[in-house]
Symmetry: C2
Subunit: 348 residues, 2 copies
């Protein structure tokens, strides 16, 4: 592991993106969101994604000078058309609009269409958190890996949901999950460690467990809670895909394999004032009290009970204090990428 | 099984509730929502609940003449204070307000406080569906049966989420799930059948599986997808409980055991126009196309792939055609209840 000041990593990624023709403002926002994921300990959606983004750009799969704009709007909602630009600037604009509307009206729903992979779900709900707002984010994943419950055609992805709620003195509650038991990232981790996959992660066409991580691609991911998670994944597909005119089901482009076809990715974010119904002070006190009740409750394992968001929060604080950690091999890959695209920046 | 016209069952429940002092309008709405659950094949939240409701009323746990009213409101949101009235009239009013606001503004968020158990989650999202609107419903369950992930104090319930999205010609997508793998109802079914519980439903204080259904109460329910489902359950608790000033965590009243204490139940419903961003005709066509893609996709089991909501839809059609099915033993129990409270109505 090597550690870097966040700004150095952002500048690095920005320069790489500029070297392949990305607009400076879009390059900067994309770099920021990627590094935020690394800072939060979500390396699978951080700078590790930069090589794939560059490959898609080089294959003509991304519009380098998109006209990202609001195409439908009312007081509490908006649809942002990303014009096939990078997902981070599209989803950042969508989140900023949702934040502004929710501050005025208490509630806002903003969707995207013709967007692209936007990285870690939790970085967008965290934007709302910095404004003392609550948020829930939904996205259609950029690839299908799961059939409907009882089926065997891959029509569903790992469609993520993220949620964030402010607190007072306590670490805020932040959830950031795929609706499948395992993500592609967690399978890759097992493969690299040479460990078998636990049963319940991946099954073959007959529903039998696949435990060899190198055979995971032959199989299907399993949804959380069986038919329940498959239902949640479909629900997210309607909210972030169908309702926005974005891809879902058979329209989803496998963005790792088909580098040149626009993905028409869709996302959606709901932003709420947490003090919609009770005063902010009362909300903060109540949230703090419940968070403390949970965190101080009896443990099954001996370790203190931890809630979603604590780990990301601690990693973020640590990254600010000590620098953002990157694995050595990623540093090497990123420097090779920078050299190849003619960017002067280096991390090694 | 015996079958009854829906109106006969509604009138029966209405008379029982009137006999114990419930206001006629509240008795009628409560009876309607309960029978709608039976019609949709969700018997666990149908008339089977009537004896418990009556017991709570007799114990003074429910306000028979509540002043159910909006206590906070803006163009797109409202908080309904149920004044400890029955949950069905409270949540029905909340849903009607959300529907009216969403028709005007496209998006609406309505919460409840000092409400009570409101029955099947899906009957409220189905109300939105009848207005060609999409809806997502959240509720804090009336009892805790699950610790936080890694803990062993019961701080979380089966907090349900329901979602409904209109379609064109296809059966609409409707999801109605607890965020635990098993519900109290599904455990009761296993107990009655004398079958063991599958592993993964209930664990003891050390995390070991409990498979004896009669010992289920000693253990903890497991969330869908481990820490992911535990996180979703907490998220629902914030949306439907904390944000509304309603019970969550240690404040939750065990409504089956403690009949007299007001539960301060909280619910929340988000209603969206599905044509917020694309024209209704385009939305319907897209939804139909995706539903057909899923339903006609290759099956793992030989049976056609089925989506959430199909079963409820078919049961509802069947109930309208042939009558609403009730088990014989429930008919006996309901008639005993009617006799005991001095209602003239009988089903037997």
């Amino acid at each position: 592991m090597r550690r870097y000041p966040p700004e150095r990593l952002i500048a690095f990624a920005e320069q790489v993106l500029r070297a392949v023709g990305v607009r400076p403002d879009h390059g900067r926002v994309t770099a920021q969101r990627l590094v935020e994921a690394d800072m939060r300990g979500r390396g699978g959606h951080g700078l590790i994604r930069l090589p794939l983004y560059v490959s898609r750009i080089e294959a003509g799969g991304v519009n380098l000078d998109p006209d990202i704009r609001v195409v439908r709007e009312n007081r509490v909602s908006a649809l942002v058309d990303g014009d096939n630009g990078l997902g981070q600037p599209v989803m950042t604009l969508a989140t900023e609009i949702a934040i502004a509307k929710a501050r005025e009206e208490g509630v806002a729903w903003v969707g995207t269409v013709h967007s692209n992979h936007a990285g870690a779900a939790g970085v967008y709900t965290a934007m709302a958190l910095r404004h003392d707002l609550a948020a829930i984010y939904f996205a259609v994943a950029n690839g299908n890996a799961m059939p409907p419950w009882g089926g065997k055609e891959r029509l569903l992805g790992t469609n993520p949901i993220a949620a964030a709620f402010p607190a007072g003195e306590e670490i805020p509650f932040q959830l950031d999950i795929a609706t499948t038991v395992a993500s592609h990232g967690s399978i890759k981790v097992k493969a690299q460690a040479g460990e078998p996959l636990p049963e319940g992660w991946v099954v073959d066409e007959e529903g039998r467990p696949i435990t060899d991580p190198d055979r995971a691609d032959e199989g299907f991911l399993l949804p959380i809670g069986g038919y329940k998670g498959a239902g949640l994944t479909f629900m997210i597909g309607v909210l972030a895909g169908i309702m926005n005119g974005a891809a879902f089901g058979r329209d989803v482009v496998e963005f790792r394999k088909d580098l040149g076809t626009p993905t028409n990715t869709g996302q959606a974010i709901l932003v709420l004032r947490p003090d919609l119904f009770i005063d902010m002070e009362e909300y903060r006190k109540s949230m703090d009290r419940h968070l403390r009740d949970f965190r101080s409750s009896a443990s099954m394992t001996g370790d203190r009970v931890r809630l979603p968001g604590e780990w990301a929060w601690e990693r973020e604080q640590e990254s600010l204090r000590l620098g953002v950690p990157l694995p050595e091999e990623l540093v090497v890959r990123l420097d090779e990428l920078a050299q190849r695209v003619g960017s002067p920046a280096r991390l090694g």
